[in-house]
Amino acid sequence: MKALIKILNELHPEVNFEAETALVDGGILDSLDIVTLITEINQEYDVSIPAQEITPENFNSVGAIMRLIKKIDEA
């Protein structure tokens, strides 16, 4: 989870990602971020997030993103 927060903090140093639960709904992540974010997660966690999993629900909080990474990793 630390690595994920590091990736996110490079995109938005001002956000407290551990507490934030409206990354999408609150407009924190935007279209400028998404490709970078997915590419870096794929590299860091050695996964390949499939396009159909890139949804608002899976990216609204660090917890949701971690659950997604775990799910893909275990599949």
């Binding site: 935007d30 400028l32 998404i34 490709v35 949804t55």
Partner: protein
């Protein structure tokens, strides 16, 4: 004789009153509703005595914005749409250079609009029911000429102050006619608009829609984060034509969405503002082998797009997509460093001539005179052309190929940015001595180096108050001194090398 863009709207509203003109998927406006709302807004503005002056529009992305635009034109004024997400300090700079007497806002932007300065703020909701005053509107129309401005849109300025480009009926009509002809557009077009309404880019959809009676869906911004729902949205509304920035198309292809979701109705895909990475282009081409792909090129100063190129087949690895040829009634000249026409195949700066050349920068004669100049090849009569700062050459087939910029203007995520504007914002921090920006085009990152006492996080937070999101540096590095050339100028080449070296060492990520 076609002299006013409202003639498009009026002819279409009479022919197809109940067809949907603009929709965001939830709220829609038919052509009759659009015309009625526009006339109400025009009448309200005219009744208040506003004439031939800027009307600032501060509204979130919604079909109502189009009613406001055309309403302003009905009043014989010109609309100035601004980015409602812009930091207030930059918004104020824009406001000050415009000095408008009147702002139209929606409810969510009302407070922000009221804080800007000495201008009356009218709520859109309070205007759209105003009874249309046909007599007054026709009086205004009789006095309008086709060189009257329709809009002003703001573009990044190298000294830190955004420049407002003003365009008139004549150039917008010229652009609409030639653009529609080149791409073969018609009443059957269903557009999916991606570009923000505060730029000239959406003229492609807006003007085609009112000219032919086509339909435009304003795609919600948030959908551009989620490629599969985005493609599903295109299918749900049977969208067949898109004019998007390259980065929006790349989000879909790079994240693998085209493998699992196909835009079933898409027939025409126009893109521009940036170089399309060949690999991403070919993913699109393979997914939609029967669709038409168009590369567009053009500066805001020449109304919209000036050149087009239809891409046939795949693009070979390592190849580039030309920007092609000018639209009808537009002339492109390549001028070398001696002010002469560049020899065939040789690089030259793009100068653009024709009706498409806009009126210049509003309230800024100095900057206007620098860029809107007498045709260097014509000493015989007055012919104002636009000097783009873009360097291009002709290939063996006589097509234009973009090479580079002459200055430090960049294209980043579809936005045109002057690195100088970012530097000016940083330099205004009292504990920054001097700053310099680079663009890492490979990784699409804006990189800032600076000297001074300010911390990096502190500087970034400061910049956020001045600059829109897409202009913020992704990397900020503090140095003891900036490299200088023997003449004492900032040595950008040395900085580039420094950045490259640090990239290779993997030590560039200092925002942790």
């Amino acid at each position: 004789m076609l002299t006013n863009i409202l003639q498009y709207l009026e002819a279409t509203a009479a022919r197809l009153p109940d067809k949907i003109a603009f929709s965001d998927g939830c709220d829609s406006l038919t052509f009759a509703e659009l015309q009625k709302a526009a006339k109400s807004i025009g009448s309200r503005l005219a009744a208040r005595g506003f004439r031939r002056e800027p009307v600032m529009i501060m509204m979130d992305r919604h079909p109502n914005v189009l009613s406001a635009f055309f309403g302003v034109v009905y009043a014989g004024c010109f609309y100035v749409p601004v980015d409602t997400e812009m930091p207030e300090l930059r918004l104020r700079t824009t406001f000050n250079s415009l000095a408008p007497r009147i702002i139209i806002s929606d409810r969510s932007n009302y407070q922000k609009a009221a804080r800007l300065g000495q201008a009356e703020v009218l709520l859109f909701d309070g205007m759209r029911g105003f009874p249309p005053d046909e007599k007054l509107l026709s009086q205004i129309r009789e006095n309008q000429i086709d060189t009257d401005p329709i809009y002003i849109v703001f573009t990044s300025g190298s000294t830190g102050v955004p420049k407002g480009v003003a365009a008139c009926h004549r150039s917008v009509i010229d652009y609409t006619e030639s653009f529609c002809e080149a791409l073969g557009l018609s009443e059957d077009c269903v557009f999916g608009n991606q570009t923000p309404l505060h730029f000239d880019a959406p003229l492609k959809e807006i003007m085609t829609t009112i000219k032919y009676g086509a339909t435009t869906y304003l795609i919600p911004k948030k959908l551009f984060l989620f490629p599969v729902p985005l493609v599903e949205h295109l299918n749900e509304h049977k969208i067949n034509t898109i004019c998007w920035v390259v980065s929006a198309l790349c989000t879909i292809s790079a994240l693998g969405a085209l493998d699992i979701a196909r835009p079933r109705y898409l027939k025409k895909i126009a893109f521009g503002s940036e170089v399309f990475p060949v690999k991403q282009f070919n993913i699109w081409r393979d997914a939609l082998p029967d669709a038409e792909f168009y590369n567009l090129y053009g500066p805001t100063e020449c109304t919209g797009m000036s050149c087009w190129y239809k891409v046939e087949g795949r693009v070979p690895e390592g190849g580039t997509i030309p920007i092609g040829r000018p639209f009808r009634n537009t002339r492109i000249m390549l001028i070398d460093e001696n002010g002469k026409e560049a020899a065939p195949g040789e690089p030259g700066e793009i100068y653009i001539a024709g009706t498409c050349v806009t009126l210049g920068y509003y309230n800024n004669p100095g900057k206007t005179d620098e860029a809107f100049v007498q045709n260097p090849l014509n000493r015989s009569y007055r012919e104002i052309v636009y000097k783009t700062g873009d360097i291009a050459r002709l290939n063996e087939r006589g097509e234009l190929v973009f090479i580079s910029r002459r200055d430090s203007q960049i294209k980043h995520m579809g936005h045109r940015i002057e690195l100088g504007e970012i530097e000016a914002a940083a330099d205004s921090h009292e504990r920054v001595a001097r700053s310099c920006c680079l663009y890492d085009s490979e990784n699409k990152k804006i990189v800032m180096y600076y000297t001074g006492e300010a911390g990096q996080g502190e500087l970034l937070a400061y910049l956020k108050d001045y600059l829109p999101r897409y202009m913020l540096p992704a990397v900020i590095k503090k140095l003891d001194s900036l490299p200088l050339t023997p003449n004492g100028k900032l040595d950008r080449q040395a900085l580039k090398k420094l950045y490259k070296d640090s990239e290779n060492e993997g030590t560039h990520k200092n925002l942790k």
